[in-house]
Symmetry: C2
Subunit: 232 residues, 2 copies
């Protein structure tokens, strides 16, 4: 990947959005590139944290395993998203495992390099706090959902959020352009595979969704899903 391509990626990353060209250029120059095959991980929960990553293209699923062996999906991440930084700044082991659900390319900076960049360009640090703040708000919202809403609403809201950040418009409706299993949805919403399957089956019967027994979900009637996600 040449420098121009790297700059293009850096430009798109939320972390660098709106910063002056010199900053982008300097950031791009000091980045390494890393490719992760579908099914492989960028790093593992518990590894010592030493690098910041930005997704150039592809898609990651951020998993967290509990001491008693259960797994939850914290979020999906796509181009422009920042991976690993929280742990690096805190100097603690990575608290989760990002797994590539499709072939993914990332830009990589060492802890030291990123630190230099931040010292040299204070707005970078502000941006970073901004992004972390976004994560906090997102987590608070999800916590609130899991704590107070029933399963059907949570599943609807989760599908809508994913569609909002990764959906592609097609003739049939909004398509989620990667393999999102019922198990994934269960682990995002704090329920079981079976309950998700039942719920989706119902929605497919009602014509709200398409994607029976297969890979890619298509939302045919987003409006209905919104209603469900907001129903009292």
């Amino acid at each position: 990947m040449d420098k121009t391509a790297r700059i293009a990626i850096v430009e798109r990353a939320k972390l660098f959005a709106g910063l002056p060209p010199e900053t982008l250029s300097e950031a791009a120059e000091t980045a390494q590139v890393r490719v992760v095959d579908k099914g492989d991980v960028v790093f593992r929960q518990g590894d010592e944290a030493g690098h910041h990553f930005i997704v150039a293209w592809g898609r990651l699923r951020l998993d967290q395993t509990t001491p008693d062996g259960k797994n939850i999906v914290l979020r999906f991440m796509g181009p422009g998203d920042l991976v690993g930084s929280v742990a690096v700044w805190r100097k603690v082991p990575y608290p989760a495992t990002p797994l590539a659900v499709e072939e993914t390319r990332l830009l990589v900076w060492s802890d030291a390099r990123m630190m230099e960049l931040m010292q040299a360009h204070p707005p970078l640090a502000m941006k970073a706090m901004n992004m972390m703040g976004g994560r906090i708000e997102e987590l608070q919202e999800r916590l609130q959902q899991v704590a107070t809403q029933q399963v059907e609403r949570r599943i609807a809201a989760t599908i809508l959020k994913i569609a909002g950040q990764s959906g592609r418009k097609t003739e049939a409706g909004v398509e989620i352009p990667f393999a999102l299993s019922r198990q994934d949805l269960a682990e995002m919403t704090g329920t079981t595979l079976h309950t998700v399957s039942r719920t989706l089956s119902g929605w497919i019967d009602e014509g709200i969704l398409e994607g029976r027994r297969s890979s890619h979900l298509v939302i045919c009637r987003p409006h209905r899903l919104v209603e469900i996600s907001e129903q009292a």
Copy 2:
């Protein structure tokens, strides 16, 4: 409150921990002081965010109200904790309401002042990110708990966490030194007042806790609570 007192508070705040005395002094000089009576709020969810607060003494409960009128308790905050900063940095309205559960004194900086401090003292920004990272990890842990564990475990874990950050040792055991209602615990663990009451009653019968029908909980057998919070 004189300058020496303010410096002492600033010194204790995690945000400033370990920074050089000049920084502390400068921060302390530019701070305002604000007192909030028990039952009053520092600001309200939805207000425009313009100020950073650090708790000097006292205790706050951070509440979030959902569109459909439900309430959840995000966390309790005590001396040294940072309030409101996430929203200020993101330039979004405050996402939650901090309510004083006892008379509370805070140091206040305007957005602009804090920005100046951060620009002048880069380590401050690093500390801030560190703290935000801590919040993210805490939220991820709670999300995982609510999503995968059953109510009894969640209540046990929540009481232990609160005891860990605010508990005081007494002859009878570890006391939680402020009024923590069953309703509060319910709103922290994503369950109902009734279920919390039943669960605590059981534990009190078993001698794990004290505090029947009254203000301050005392943990008599922390070890048992830990077991419950980890039980398969």
